[in-house]
Amino acid sequence: MIGAIDSLRQALARLRAFSRQAPLDRDLDAEVAAHLAFAIEENLRRGFSPEEASRQALVRFGGIAQSKERHREARGLPVLDVLLQDLRYALRTLRRDRGFASAAVLILALGIGANIAVFSVVNTILLRPLPFRDPQRLVWMAGNRGAGGLSGVTYTVAAYEEFQRHNRSFQDVTAYDPFFGDSDFNKLTGRGEPQELAGVRVAGNFFPTLGVQPALGRLFTAEECQKGGRPAVLLGHFFWQRQFAADPAIVGQPIILNNRPVTVVGVLPASFDFGSVFSPGLKMDIYVPAIMDELRNWGNTLTMMGRLKPGVTVAQAQAEVDILMPQIRAAHKDWYNDYATAMTGLKDHVSGKLRRSLVVLWCAVGMILLIVCVNLSNLLLARAAARGKEFALRSALGAGRARIVRQLLTESLVLASGGAVLGLGIAFAVTWYLARQGSIALPLLSTIRVDGAALGWTLLIALAAAVLFGLAPSLKISGGNLQDALKDAGHGMSAGRKHDRMRAVLVVSEVALACVLLVGAGLLLRSFLRVLDVDLGFQPSRAAAIKIDYNDGGKPERRGAILQEILRRVSAIPGIQSAGIVDMLPLDRNRSWGLQAKGRIYRKGEAQDAFVYIVTPGYLGAIGMQRREGRDFSWQDTPTSEPPVIINQAAARYHWPGEDPLGHIALVNGKDFRVVGVISDVRESSVEAGSGIEMYLPATQAEPEGAELVVRTQLPPEALASSLMRTLRAYNPEQPAAEFRPIQSIVDHAVSPRRFFALLVAVFAGLGLLLASLGIYGVISYSVTRQTQEIGIRMALGATTERVQLGVIARTMRLVLVGIAVGSITSVVAAKWIAALLFKTEPSDPLAFAGTVLLLGGVALVAGYIPARRASRIDPMVALRGN
């Protein structure tokens, strides 16, 4: 009996033998030659004639080929041998039919490539866990149950500390300051040109709570998070590479942030990308400790997150906070807010809103793959018909049905593998491109890559596709009647209706799939156009903004003079129409303050915060906001004059319903401001959501949070960038090299997720349409070829050209109409399903449906007309003689 070790030894030997066939074959050949020589020699000795001697030797040896084959089987891996044989045969056949092979591989590559790319997007945003330790235990907390602007959903330091102290659900509660662009650490000097930085204040336990370890150095110490502690900063990995050429010696060195030396205590790992998780589209450069005692009096400044204790669910934490927050609130009568908190898993918060869009995208691209498979099935069926004889011959020679199916599936597999390899290339290119699109506001997109999961997915869909498009044709062929095929029947006649029916079903399903894709794309594109049509309340074209730096020493009267001088100089640049300064641009950042009509009694919960913007005279005009009544600010609004406020119409409607607010006194954070102007509503936080209540205060009367210089130009903004920077530097040599952003780019950024999805679905729909039309063309053209004789006879009997053409076109349209009918019904359902993704567009939007029907019909008409024309040009004499 064979022991386990012997079996293993044999398996290894077989594997070795399999991998070196040629030398072993040579060895065997030599051995067999020696064997025969010995035998002949012996036979000669026995007195046989030379011919008889070698004849006898061969007879006694048995079949040489069979012996060698058995030797090979015994020593190698026969199953693999057969597979290799099939592969070699498949490659040879496909090489012979290069046109077909390359078309098939290309179509597959498009389908598979699109699928891998979309899978990578879905995997990155939706499936892959966040790049933190035990990310499923991280919870996002939104104040005001997540409603309102940033100031509404954030917490005070006191609320944060109280919740941290009293809660029992969380192992850790941490926070960061989401009001980025703070002017305490947004400028790096002393290292070449002054640099504009994006930085964020984080609580001391922020990184430990997320489970992020520094790549170099250390995290913040408790001392560094205290008031008066040694200033410390952590560098983001990308910033460290860009600014400090990845020099590890920077750790421990001071850098100059806003004229203050701050020690670099560490560098964060490349895997930590704050922006991609918490603020898509933003690359965070530096992290500084949030010193709670300094933030304490600034109102709502903190975004809270927590790590649940093991075993605690989000729902339990929610239940706790629902009880705890009112208790905390009751203990602090002076609090302005009751911090009703909505808790969501961090992953849900980051990508939950995108789930529907991504699933839709996934379905769309899945449909593309289906269309691709249907198309290939069709191509293979046509090929199968042409190869009927070949297979009949093979089965006559003894090939079993399974063997033939296996051979054909191997061919499909070769095609699918080719498509998968090419598709992977496409997907690599697409993901590489997407990872570098900072302007697309999708979370985690910068971390997208074709990873192991995507490769697994590739393998899966390539296999599934191969079976899907290969099985039907191979069953069809191998199940065919041998004699019929050998006798060459059915050619040139309209026989083989069964065959045609299958192809017709394939075309109908293809058209139906394309129809669904087109309707979906139509609806999404229309929504996108509607979004672009939204009246933003300002004019993005020909306006641009740049972050500016100035030093007013915190004195409003000096600020006024400085800003006025900057604006005077900037306005003098040729090509600049108007200029103004604001602290936060619409659709970019926001914060809110209390606003009330003086003298009005507000019921509980009725008082609503307003988005606040601190502006200079000229800003409203420069960005193109519409003044409805009253005046703009002027430089006569000094720190000592009566404080003025400009509100938007939403604020007027809310706080002074039915009245003209002009001249009324508004309470801004409890201080008296006179309403001097009203402007049209501005989309301040989202293009798609309506406008909130807004107010604008003069920079001489309120503390701005950063400064954006907005200019309206006659020339394209980029043409002015260098002269503008020269002017700013001439006034302030420390002006950082900040980006001169067209306002349009901010709007584009805000609508980028919708554009991303709409465009992708539209591309897929286009692809679907193309493939479907190819499919229609293929089927009709094939059936015309098959019926050449029949058509020839009919023409010989007097059928006119038109009649023949019409016949073919009518057949095409019958197929297409059935497809459109099936597709439209499916689309109605699909449209309802994506209704939540539409903007000011009904799921039953007649334009999208009518457009789809017309487009599909038109394309089908063309796809059918080409073979129809060919049919009508058949020369009856040639057709009848042919074959």
Partner: protein
């Protein structure tokens, strides 16, 4: 069914090869085939070629070893010899065959008596 028969044949041939090598020392393929034919009194009509599948199988299991060498009449040939492990294997299989054949003999003898009725 035919598969089973082949298996038996294979096993038998392998055993014969092992025994031949154990008895004769180093031999080339033709020599082994001839020895088997002779010792069986030409009762086994062997397709000599089939011996090579058997040889490679035994070699892969490590029961025989092979080496190119020169024959008496100066011809290059591959010479096979049995290994230590091969001898162990041979002893086991020979015992098995002997048991099997004696059992078969007894069983068949019993049938003979039954047919004497």
């Amino acid at each position: 069914m035919p598969e089973k028969k082949l298996d038996l044949l294979q096993g038998t041939l392998d055993l014969m090869v092992l025994q031949t090598l154990a008895a004769m020392g180093s031999l080339h393929g033709y020599g082994i085939a001839r020895r088997i034919e002779q010792s069986s009194g030409d009762a086994v009509l062997l397709n000599q070629g089939t011996i090579y599948a058997s040889l490679v199988r035994l070699q892969q299991r490590g029961w025989i070893s092979a080496e190119w060498g020169t024959s008496d009449n100066n011809r290059k040939a591959k010479f096979y010899s049995i290994t230590k492990r091969g001898r162990k294997q041979l002893a086991q299989e020979a015992a098995y065959w002997q048991r099997l054949s004696s059992v078969m003999g007894r069983v068949l003898a019993m049938q003979d008596e039954g047919g004497d009725r």
